[in-house]
């Protein structure tokens, strides 16, 4: 065996060893980042643009290829997740609160503020519930449980949504709002600051902002921190112009309760007062200084003649 032949075989062996030492992601080479946040009110193109911008940023920061994927329905996101085509995703507050399988919350969108935005049933004009009863309510497809959020969160389980409205679904907030503006629906679930609409209910939902979550536990742990750092340094386009901040998953878990049937607690009454003797609960003001007693006999004037 010649030296050249030997060195060629060594190269192949070394290459094989090196390849086996790389992590799976490195091996897959592509990191998938998804986007499902209909409440951002973006058009499909804007959604794709936004996630592509984020993917490119992450790729630059991490030095690894990142693919951005935009979803219309959560089901597609789930399918890609199961196929390991996406490892992390930017998900809207509604869906993020109700979904399972979240490994870690990496960052939350800073644009809507740390506390998120207030949502309610919005109408095109000032009206009341009795007037719009039986008409079409447009619900953006922000979450599979969006109707529960409205019925139990906004209406506090007082009344069935289907008894009040004909419920119609829209793929996104943009189209749902447009349906109300165009008169196809009388009301829509939308942020209270939506231009041209007025609240129909006296109650609002405080929806947490969209968050970037790690969905796959396969992602190498050493990548989590660079990934978070990269997210926090991101300044996006239209909807994510303010970038991301750190957040807590508990906020979303708390909001998740809003989609469950409201069950009111029975409240105990305070026990009776202590059986203390009367007059002991004295206000400080009633504590008066005592005047010295007059001992009349001692203080009588010396008997003096007139």
């Amino acid at each position: 065996m010649s030296v050249v032949h030997l060195s060629g075989r060594l190269f192949i062996l070394a290459s094989a060893l090196l390849l086996s030492a790389l992590p799976a992601s490195a091996r897959t080479a592509k990191l998938g980042v998804g986007l499902f946040a209909p409440e951002l009110g973006l058009t499909p193109y804007e959604q794709f643009d936004e996630i592509d911008r984020l993917a490119r940023h992450l790729a630059t920061e991490l030095g690894t290829p990142v693919v951005g994927r935009s979803y219309k329905v959560p089901r597609d996101l789930g399918a890609d997740l199961r196929a390991n085509r996406v490892q992390l995703a930017l998900i809207g507050g509604f869906h993020l609160s109700s979904m399972s399988g979240v490994v870690k919350l990496l960052a939350v969108a800073a644009g809507g503020g740390a506390e998120g935005s207030r949502w309610s049933l919005m109408a095109a004009q000032q009206t009341n519930l009795r007037a719009v009863r039986g008409q079409v309510l447009q619900l953006p497809n922000v979450s599979p449980a969006v109707a529960d959020f409205v019925e139990h969160g906004l209406l506090e389980s007082n009344i069935s949504l289907l008894k009040l409205f004909k419920v119609a679904s829209s793929p996104g907030l943009f189209s749902a709002v447009e349906a109300v503006r165009l008169g196809a629906a009388v009301a829509v679930l939308a942020p209270v600051d939506t231009k041209g609409l007025v609240p129909l209910l006296p109650r609002t939902l405080r929806v947490p902002p969209p968050g970037v979550v790690l969905l796959s536990s396969d992602l190498a742990p050493e990548l989590v921190e660079p990934l978070t750092r990269a997210l926090l340094s991101y300044r996006g386009g239209k909807s994510l112009a303010s970038g991301f901040v750190t957040g807590e998953l508990r906020t979303y878990q708390g909001f998740a309760a809003a989609r469950r049937r409201q069950r009111l607690a029975l409240v105990p009454v305070a026990p009776e007062a202590l059986p203390l003797r009367q007059g002991q609960w004295l206000a400080p003001q009633t504590v008066a200084l005592e005047l010295p007693e007059l001992t009349v006999a001692d203080l009588f004037a010396t008997v003096r003649p007139p």
């Binding site: 607690a265 105990p268 400080p284 009588f300 008997v303």
Partner: protein, 845 residues
């Protein structure tokens, strides 16, 4: 007796003349009596009668000695010549040759035993020798035989006046003058004597009446004029008396003693002394004879006059400050037979005036032994005894004087003063009131009466009879000098304060201040009244005025003012000032009530300061202040201390200062427990601590508090005491209440509430309610709903809970109605308003 000497003896020398005249009258009156039928020889009888006739002629010519010779011979010629005997006896009586008179009269009576004239002469003799009783008996014996009206009465009156028995003389004369048949020519002399007797007895009103009658009958009579002057002198109208005596003195040297008295009375001491000296010098022989014991039967009126002169001379000397001479003069009066009572009184008065009270009292001793000592004597004896500090003597003499009738204002006053000095104020008061009523303008009486009332008021106050004390002091307001007298107003203010009438007290104190603004006592009382009326600022002004004065004041009141000023400051809101003032007051003996009060006030002011700081949310200072209050309270008795600590504790609780309150419980828990939950002595503090833990709203402590509460309940539950079981139930209830507010606490809560219900005979509605809530949370829905439905009338929150249940079972519209009713009942349910607002929107019309 010479004419000059007679003039000098208005009642002495003249007396003999008057008696002589009376005897003449008797002679005339007895002319019709049967003549003596003695056997005599014709010649002797004739010769004797001739001589008798000759003697009468000589007597009428004033040749008494010749007349006496003729009478002697007439009797010698015929010893049974009773007429001659009578004439001679009259002459001898006139010349006061009393032994001879007695012999002659007895001889005459041998010849004619029942001769009324001789008996009358013998009566006169007895009067002159000092046996007035015998003399009066003789007069009584002859009265039926004497036709001349009033003659015997006249003799009797003269006898009594000679003897100086003024009361009997006055009585006799009064009866004589009242005789229905009248007295004829003798009425005037008898009335004159009656006036004399009255004057001598100081019955001045009656004497004045008699003199007025006499003056109308005989306007120019000098004796009557002299008596008028004496009346004026006795009445104190000395100037007119002096003028009258001076007028009389121009025509006669009589009345010199009275003149001297009048001079002394008007203050002419030297002149009076000169008058007395002149008079006594003129009477030197009489005086010497009397002092030498040479006079067997003294002329009593003259002697009285001499003694009177010596006595009044002594008074003149005393007035001039010549005490030794005055004393000698008094002693002379005594030796001259002056009234021992008067002499003793004068000497005693002299000693009294010189401050020799013991001597004065000693001098009065013999006089006081007499059955009826004069009022003046008793008065002086009382005064001397009081000054000498001889209380038994003062009391004895005061009682004697009080036993007399017809007491003058002066007597009542003096006895009242004596009883006052002896401490018998109850007896002194009515006497002084009587004296004051009789002499309302006498300042001395008013002063003594006021003092007695004041003393009585003080005693009443000491006995706690404040109403009586006030009534007594208010009587003082009727006294004329009340307006210038502050102490009464001050004492009234003090009593009214004690009575709880500060407005009236303020009135009195201000009245005293109007009189004297610098009266510290009145300033204090006014301040105290203002303080009691709830005007601390006004009180502070007065206390400030008090402290600026530099006049002496009572230390007791100073101490009071310091404390009261601190109280006023505290009540005015200046707690820092009050604290500072109280700190400056010396505590003294800590066991005294005043020290305890000071401590209490210190603690209270610290407490008030703490409350103020609490209101200002100055927690650190509050804690320090509370600590100081607690530290000071340690010197107090335990009950007081416990009460104060409980006050501090509750002040902290009310200010919701749980940390401070808990610190107090930690340090004084047992004591607080005693104060608050007497039957739970050892556990009270722990219970309070547990409750505080719950109320402190600290989660960590809440669970600890709940645990302690359950432990406590285990301790208390076996007790038979109702309060202990009630408290145990409450502790369990409180613990359950805490558990119900927590997740998964319903099981414990249900167990504890069940136990709490078992401990009480009457389960409280709150407990029933919470039992239902706990049961609901444990899945006993139906039973809970039934229980809650039964409680909706008593526990409004039950409506909310029922509403919550309806909501939970999908009946929001029923829930809405119940929630609305619940809110109307004022119950507190979490987010109730928001729930109802939404439901109103959803289901409202």
């Amino acid at each position: 007796m010479t004419a000059a000497r007679r003039r000098d003896r208005p009642w002495g020398g003249a007396w003999a003349l008057r008696v002589g005249a009376a005897l003449c009258l008797l002679a005339g009156a007895l002319a019709s009596t049967p003549p003596a039928r003695a056997q005599r020889s014709q010649y002797a009888e004739e010769e004797s009668n001739r001589r008798l006739k000759r003697a009468v002629e000589l007597f009428q010519k004033g040749r008494e000695r010749d007349a006496e010779e003729q009478l002697k011979k007439a009797i010698s010629d015929w010893p049974k010549n009773v007429d001659a005997i009578k004439k001679y006896a009259a002459l001898l009586l006139k010349r006061r040759r009393l032994p001879e008179t007695a012999a002659l009269l007895r001889r005459g009576l041998e010849h004619n035993p029942r001769d009324p004239q001789l008996e009358a002469y013998l009566g006169v003799y007895y009067c002159w020798v000092g046996e007035a009783t015998e003399g009066l008996a003789r007069f009584k014996q002859v009265e039926p035989y004497i036709k001349k009206r009033g003659a015997v009465q006249f003799l009797a009156a003269e006898c009594l006046l000679y003897d100086g028995n003024w009361p009997l003389a006055a009585q006799t004369l009064r009866q004589s003058l009242a005789a229905p048949q009248g007295l004829g020519a003798l009425e005037l002399p008898l009335r004159l004597r009656y006036a004399v007797a009255l004057l001598k007895q100081y019955e001045l009103g009656a004497a004045g009446a008699q003199l007025a009658l006499l003056t109308r009958q005989a306007p120019k009579n000098r004796q009557i004029a002299a008596l008028r002057a004496e009346l004026q002198l006795r009445r104190g109208d000395c100037r007119r008396a002096l003028k009258a005596y001076e007028e009389l003195g121009r025509k006669s040297r009589a009345y010199r003693v009275e003149l001297g008295e009048a001079q002394l009375c008007v203050g002419q001491r030297q002149q009076a002394l000169a008058t007395f000296d002149g008079y006594l010098a003129a009477q030197r022989q009489q005086v010497d004879a009397q002092l030498g014991g040479r006079v067997r039967y003294p002329d009593r009126p003259l002697l009285r006059q001499l003694a009177r002169a010596a006595l009044v001379r002594g008074q003149a000397l005393r007035a001039l400050g010549r005490y030794e001479a005055a004393l000698a003069s008094y002693e002379l009066a005594g030796r001259l037979g002056g009234d021992p009572g008067e002499v003793d009184l004068a000497v005693a008065e002299l000693h009294f005036a010189r401050g020799r009270y013991r001597e004065s009292l000693a001098r009065l001793g013999p006089a006081l032994q007499r059955a009826v000592p004069p009022h003046a004597l008793l008065r002086l004896a009382i005064r001397a005894a009081l000054r000498a500090g001889d209380k038994p003597a003062a009391r004895q003499n005061a009682e004697r004087l009080l036993g007399r009738t017809g007491l003058a204002a002066e007597d009542n006053f003096l006895v009242g003063v004596a009883f006052k000095a002896l401490g018998s104020f109850e007896r002194a008061a009515p006497l002084l009131e009587r004296a004051f009523k009789a002499a309302p303008k006498t300042r001395a009486i008013e002063r003594e009466l006021a003092q007695v009332w004041q003393i009585q008021a003080r005693q009443d106050a000491q006995d706690g009879e404040l109403v009586l004390a006030i009534a007594r002091l208010e009587r003082l307001q009727a006294l004329p000098s009340y307006g210038t007298w502050s102490p009464v107003d001050e004492d009234l203010a003090l009593l009214q304060l004690q009575q709880g009438a500060p407005a009236q007290a303020l009135g009195h104190a201000l009245a005293a201040l109007r009189r004297q603004r610098s009266d510290r006592r009145a300033l204090w009382l006014a301040g105290r009244a203002q303080l009691a009326l709830g005007r601390p600022l006004e009180a502070l002004k007065l206390y400030g005025e008090y402290s600026k004065l530099t006049t002496a004041s009572s230390p007791a009141i100073d101490a009071l003012v310091r404390q009261e000023a601190a109280v006023a400051l505290a009540r005015a809101g200046d707690l820092a000032g009050a604290t500072s003032r109280l700190a400056r007051i010396e505590l003294g003996d800590p066991t005294t009530p005043r020290a305890a009060l000071l401590q209490r006030n210190r603690v209270r002011v610290a407490l008030l300061s703490a409350a103020k700081l609490l209101a200002q949310k100055r927690t650190a200072q509050t804690a320090a202040q509370l600590e100081r209050a607690a530290a000071n309270s340690r010197v107090l008795p335990e009950p007081e201390r416990a009460a104060l600590l409980s006050r501090i504790f509750f002040a902290a609780l009310q200010a919701r200062r749980w940390v401070e309150a808990r610190a107090l419980v930690a340090s004084q828990g047992t004591l607080l427990g005693q104060a608050l939950l007497e039957p739970l002595r050892p556990a009270g503090g722990a219970l309070l601590a547990a409750l505080l833990d719950c109320q402190a709203a600290e989660p960590a402590r809440k669970s600890e508090g709940g645990r302690k509460l359950v432990e406590l309940a285990k301790l208390l539950a076996p007790s038979e005491a109702q309060l202990a079981r009630q408290t145990a139930a409450l502790a369990l209830h409180q613990a359950a209440f805490l558990e119900l507010g927590q997740r998964r606490g319903a099981a414990n809560a249900l167990r504890w509430l069940t136990e709490a219900g078992r401990l009480q005979a009457n389960v409280p509605p709150a407990l029933k309610h919470n039992l239902a809530v706990a049961g609901y949370q444990q899945g006993r829905t139906a039973a809970a709903v039934t229980a809650l439905e039964g409680l909706t009338e008593i526990v409004p929150l039950a409506l909310c809970n029922l509403a919550a249940h309806e909501q939970n079972v999908g009946q929001p519209e029923q829930a809405h109605e119940l929630f609305s009713a619940c809110r109307r009942r004022g119950a507190q349910y979490p987010k109730l308003d928001a729930i109802i607002e939404l439901q109103d929107y959803l289901f409202g019309s």
